[in-house]
């Protein structure tokens, strides 16, 4: 050999609906099923309403820090819809959409952000991971779970999600790299919402795309319009099918925009350009899908009203359950530390219980 090309790569981008809700190419079958599309619209609406309520709870001192999904609903709802109950979800803190889709309840999510570990004791999605707060660790967990599934010969996929900022962490790379080597059935979703708190994406990478990070792991990487739920779901379904059937991992970059603050603790107006945000609002996923439904005569103002009322009820019921949930007692600081509490720590448990009793008595 002399000077030759030894490898070449391409990154593809997928979009099906433009911001006006007009198809940009032949739609997949599910997109023509208006019941399905109404359901996805409702899922996004529920997430948006839930987020708003969570914000309100935080603002009124009834809950802690909360990260909303405003503008990014198509991602979690889209790939969440592509999952089966047998698949495993390894969420990060902004995976609310996928969590709801995968059977984690609103009450559980509120409890979690309300500072109660019982929010991660999922009643339905018993194998799903709790929310991962330290950025990028979850990427490796997903590969670990997928390895166990592979060793047992099961046909289940693993999904995990990370922000575009999180892709700068070593764990992101280590996790996708091993998924490539071992051909693990993981779908790695990158929520590219343009911001890592206040840090814009151009400070995060010199790459043209986040999808191309897959190339360093020798795995498939694709880019989708993350505001187009049809694109997200279609590409995710491909990736999940592949994952379940021994086809290995896929990295999906979903391009969107964070229309909310990073969390309730953030003030995006300190760094976000209002004009850019205004532009971004024009691309947000719900209007687009609604326009599509309307064009297909599958949605009306009345439907919208009815849905909103229903959703409000559901969310309110969850909030009520959250507010009425029993307060955790001090023994819970100790009871799940190990299968059995060490001798050394038993007196600490007793002391904590006594102190709590004393405090109650003093009131």
């Amino acid at each position: 050999m002399t000077t030759t090309t030894v490898a070449s790569f391409e990154i593809k981008y997928h979009q099906y609906l433009d911001p006006q809700g007009k198809p940009t190419q032949e739609l997949p079958a599910f997109a023509k099923d208006m019941d399905k599309m109404r359901q996805l619209y409702r899922d996004m609406a529920l997430l948006r309403a839930f987020d708003a309520k969570a914000y309100a709870l935080q603002r009124t001192g009834k809950m802690g820090t909360y990260p909303a999904s405003l503008g990014q609903e198509a991602i979690g709802i889209g790939y969440g819809d592509a999952m089966t109950a047998e698949d495993v979800l390894i969420p990060y803190y902004r995976s609310t959409g996928a969590m709801l889709k995968h059977g984690i309840t609103m009450e559980e999510i509120l409890l979690y952000w309300g500072g109660d570990e019982s929010g991660s004791n999922y009643s339905v999605a018993k194998e799903d991971f709790p929310i991962c707060v330290p950025i990028a660790n979850q990427i490796i967990h997903a590969s670990g779970v997928a390895k166990a599934i592979q060793m047992r010969g099961q046909k289940r996929a693993v999904a995990t999600e990370i922000g575009e900022g999180g892709t700068s962490e070593g764990d992101f790379y280590e996790g996708i790299n091993v998924a490539g080597i071992w051909n693990l059935g993981v779908v790695f979703m990158v929520n590219n919402n343009q911001w890592a708190i206040s840090v814009p994406t151009e400070i995060q990478t010199a790459c043209e795309t986040y999808a191309q990070k897959a190339i360093a792991a020798g795995i498939e990487g694709v880019q989708v319009d993350g505001n187009d739920i049809i694109a997200v779901k279609q590409v995710a379904e491909y990736a999940f099918e592949k994952a379940r059937n021994g086809g290995g991992p896929t990295l999906i970059e979903a391009i969107t925009y964070r229309l909310c603050d990073h969390t309730t603790a953030d003030d995006a107006s300190r760094y976000d350009d209002p004009k850019v945000k205004e532009e971004a609002w024009k691309n947000e996923p719900m209007v687009r899908l609604r326009k599509y439904l309307e064009a297909n005569k599958a949605w009306s103002d009345k439907d919208e009203e009815a849905m909103k009322a229903e959703i409000a009820k559901e969310v309110d019921a969850a909030v009520k359950a959250y507010e009425e949930a029993p307060k955790p007692g001090p023994e819970l600081m100790f009871d799940h530390l190990y299968a059995e509490l060490p001798e050394l720590t038993k007196p600490q448990r007793e002391a904590a219980i006594k102190l709590a009793e004393k405090a109650r008595g003093a009131k």
């Binding site: 979690y112 707060v133 900022g165 840090v199 400070i203 955790p328 819970l332 600081m333 100790f334 060490p342």
Partner: protein, 326 residues
């Protein structure tokens, strides 16, 4: 002279050094335009430019490793870890390189670098935002670990940390970022590292603490005074290497010791101080050494954090028990 909070003092000290030493450079996640999630670096990028106050990519090992590289070239990097709970990806770089470069090159390459991190509980934050893991860093030779408990100390100790020729881990007790104000003159005067501060003289019992818990400890001392117990209160401030002389001197005087910390008890700084006292001043002791600590369990989510963290009452209970000991 103005009354400023602890976090403003941190900001002022960094600004002072940015102004007076062109080698000082500041970076980390969100420290630039946003001025840090707690605003510790507020306004600094505007004043000193994007070249010297840099929003870094999101990667803690990278942040620490860059500081090593830059410091080896004679820059004086101040790197921020957004929360101490997220410092763990960086400990490899901190333990294996920051702490060792001078030693392993027999002094050829030295690392005048600071790693800042807000730490500790009490602000109702999500998981991993409330831990006190200072003991892990204090066990590593080659690092200095400094914890200011109030605004003046934050200013003076931060200046000293930046000017120190060796790596300093600078831990900021975030719960007290804004709860007190001190008149601090922005005159560039540093405080000594490796020195305890005696915040209250007393003859009956020595209360030893650092960081946010100094506030509970000082309150406890006032209450004890009302009960006729005269407590000496020591702010350890530099938890590694510890100024044991000041502590031992106090123990020799009082004979009774109560150590107060947020961190879990086992293998903590409190344990280290107790062990040193037990080794060097046992004859002075009139009672067992008390440790009021976080429990030996995971820092709970915020609904239980109040029950996890030492309170004035717990300090009083322990101090009284120690005083009653015959």
């Amino acid at each position: 002279m103005a009354a400023i909070t602890l976090i403003e003092a941190v900001n002022a000290a960094m600004a002072y050094e940015l102004e007076h030493d062109k080698d000082v450079v500041l970076f980390g996640e969100d420290v630039g335009k946003n001025g840090g999630v707690f605003r510790a670096t507020d306004g600094l990028q505007k004043k000193y430019g994007t070249d010297r106050v840099i929003d870094s990519p999101l990667a803690e090992s990278m942040i620490a490793g860059l500081a090593v590289g830059m410091a080896a070239q004679g820059m004086k990097p101040i790197a921020e870890m957004q929360f101490m709970g997220f410092i763990f990806p960086a400990v490899d770089q901190i333990f294996c390189h920051a702490a060792r470069m001078r030693h392993r090159t027999r002094g050829r390459l030295t690392l005048p670098m600071v790693i800042r991190a807000p730490y500790g509980g009490g602000i109702h934050a999500p998981e991993h935002h409330s831990e006190s893991t200072e003991a892990l860093f204090a066990h590593i030779p080659g690092l200095k670990v400094v914890i200011p408990s109030n605004p003046s100390r934050a200013y003076g100790l931060m200046l000293a940390a930046i000017r120190d020729p060796d790596p300093v881990i600078f831990l900021e007790p975030k719960r007290v970022y804004r709860i007190v104000k001190h008149e601090v003159e922005d005159n560039g005067e540093e405080y000594p590292l490796e020195a305890c501060f005696v915040d209250r003289e007393g003859s009956d019992i020595t209360l030893i603490s650092w960081g946010a818990m100094m506030h509970e400890t000082l309150q406890a001392a006032e209450k004890l005074a009302a009960e006729g117990i005269d407590a000496e209160v020591i702010d350890v401030a530099t938890i590694s290497p510890i100024d044991m002389d000041t502590i031992l001197e106090s123990v020799q005087k009082t004979g009774r010791v109560c150590i107060v910390q947020e961190a879990p008890k086992s293998g903590s700084i409190g344990s280290e101080i107790a062990a040193e006292i037990a080794e060097k001043a046992i004859l002075s002791l009139l009672a067992p050494i008390g440790r009021v600590s976080g429990y030996d369990t995971v820092m709970p989510y915020y609904r239980l954090e109040k029950q996890y963290m030492p309170t004035v009452d717990r300090i009083l209970d322990e101090a009284r028990k120690i005083m009653e000991y015959k």
